[in-house]
Symmetry: D2
C-alpha cells in the first residue's frame, strides 16, 4: 500500500482570526497548496500542465473541522487520491498536528481544455496519459 503524500506548512499569523485559530477559508487554501505539491511530486510543476493543453479546476470541496489549528503550528497535510476518473480526480486531505487529525477534507478536480476563454464554460477532457501515469501511484482507497 502506498504511503500518502505529506506536505508540511507553518500557520501564519494573518491566517488566524480573532478566535485565535485559523480562519476556516484558509484551510481550503491549504488544501490547494497540498494538491499542488502532490502534483509536483507525481507530475511536475502545476503550470507545466498548460503545456499539455489542459488545466484543472475544482468542482467540489468538503471540509470537516474537528479541532482548530493555531498560529505558528506546524501542520502535516496528508493527501490521498481516492478516485482517478477519466477526467476527474478526487483527493482526501487530512490536516494533522502532532498526529492529531484537525481537519478532514475532500476535493474533486476536473480536467478541462486550456486556456479557458474568458466568459466561456470550461469543458471536461480526459487526463493526458502522462498526467494519469504520474498520479496513479498516489491512488489509495478512500474513507
Amino acid at each position: 500500500m502506498p504511503a500518502p503524500f505529506v506536505h508540511q506548512l507553518r500557520v501564519r499569523y494573518g491566517e488566524c482570526d480573532p478566535q485565535g485559530i485559523v480562519f476556516n477559508a484558509n484551510y481550503l487554501a491549504y488544501f490547494d497548496v497540498a494538491f499542488t505539491e502532490l502534483w509536483r511530486a507525481g507530475v511536475g510543476p502545476w503550470q507545466e500542465m498548460l503545456g499539455h493543453g489542459v488545466d484543472a479546476v475544482v468542482a467540489e470541496a468538503g471540509l470537516e473541522f474537528r479541532a482548530p489549528a493555531r498560529f505558528d503550528d506546524v501542520l502535516e497535510l496528508s493527501v490521498r487520491v481516492t478516485r482517478l476518473g477519466q477526467s476527474s480526480i478526487t483527493t482526501e486531505i487530512d490536516i494533522l498536528r502532532d498526529g492529531e487529525l484537525l481537519i478532514a477534507g475532500r476535493l474533486r478536480h476536473v480536467c478541462v481544455a486550456a486556456p479557458i476563454a474568458a466568459g466561456a464554460k470550461a469543458s471536461a477532457v480526459p487526463w493526458p496519459a502522462a498526467i494519469r501515469a504520474g498520479l496513479e501511484p498516489y491512488v489509495v482507497a478512500g474513507r
Copy 2:
C-alpha cells in the same frame, strides 16, 4: 414560505487568481460574510453573541463549483437555514450572478461556550433562546 436571506457583494481583484476567476477558498470567505449578515438580520451583530456567553464555530462546510465568478461581478449570496438543532445550525448558501447559480454551499455551525480557552476543546451548548428565536424565521426546507 419565507424568502431566503440575500446579501450582495462585489468580487475584488485580489480575490481572483491567474485563471481570472475567484480563487476557490474565497467562496468560503464569502459564505462567512453571508452567514454574518443573516445573523445580523435575525439576531444582531455577531460580536454581541459573546455577551450571551456563547460563540459559534464552523463544524462542516461543503461547496459545489458550477461556474466561476469573475473580478467585478456583483454576486448575490442567498442563505437558507435548513436545520436549527439544539446546538447546531445548518445553512445552505447559493452564490448567484444575474440569477445563474455559480456556487452551491452548505455550512454547519455549532454553538459553543465562550470564551474558548486557548488550547481547550470547545464544548457544544444549546442555543440561547433569544438567538434561536431570531434564527427561526429563516428556517426553510433544504435541498
Copy 3:
C-alpha cells in the same frame, strides 16, 4: 476644491487577526478596492482599461497605522489623486471610522502596455487621453 472620492466597506471577520484587529496586509487590499472604485467613478470598470491596450501596476505603497479597525466596523476609504503624471498616478487613501483617521496610505501606480507577456518586464506608457480626462477631476493637493 473637489471633494475626495469616498468608498465604504465593512470589515470582515476573516480579515481580522488574533489581536482582534484588521491584519495589516488587508489594508493594502482595501486600498486596491478604493482605487478600483475611484477608477469606476472617473473612468469606468477597471477591466475595460485593457481595451485601451494598457494596464496599471502598483509601483509603490506606503501605510501609516494610527489606530486599528475592528471586525464589523464600517470604514470610509477617502481617495485623492495627488499627482497625475505622464504615465503614473499617485493617490492618497485615508481610512476613517466615524471621522477618526485610522490608516493613512499612499499608492503610486504606473501605466503599462497590456497585455504583459509572461516573464517580460512591463514598460511604462503614457495614459490614454480618455483615462487622463476621467481622472483629472479627482486631482487635489497632497499631504
Copy 4:
C-alpha cells in the same frame, strides 16, 4: 558585519491575481512571515512575547515594487534591522528571486503593553531587555 536574516517561501497559486503575479497586498503578508521568522531566530516564538507582557504592532510600512513574483516562485526574504529604538524597531525586507530584487520593503513596529484592551489605544513601552538582546545581532545600517 552580520549577514542579513533570510527566510524562504514559495508563492501559492491563490496569492496570485489575474495579471498572473502576486497580488500586491500579499507582499505585506510575506513581510509579516519574514519578521516572525527573524523574531524566532533572535528572540523565540512570537506568541511567547505575551509572556513578557508586551506585544508588537505595525506602525508604518512601505513597499517598492520593482518586478513581480509569480506562482510557484521560491522567494528569498532578506531582513535587516536598521533601527532598534527604545520602543520601536525598523526593519528593511528585500524579496529576491534568484538574486534579483523584486520588492524592497520597510516596516516599523512599536512595542506596546499587552494584552491590549478591546477599544483601547495601545501605548508604547520599552522593549524588555531579553527581547532587545535577541534583536541586537540583526542590527545593520539601513538603505
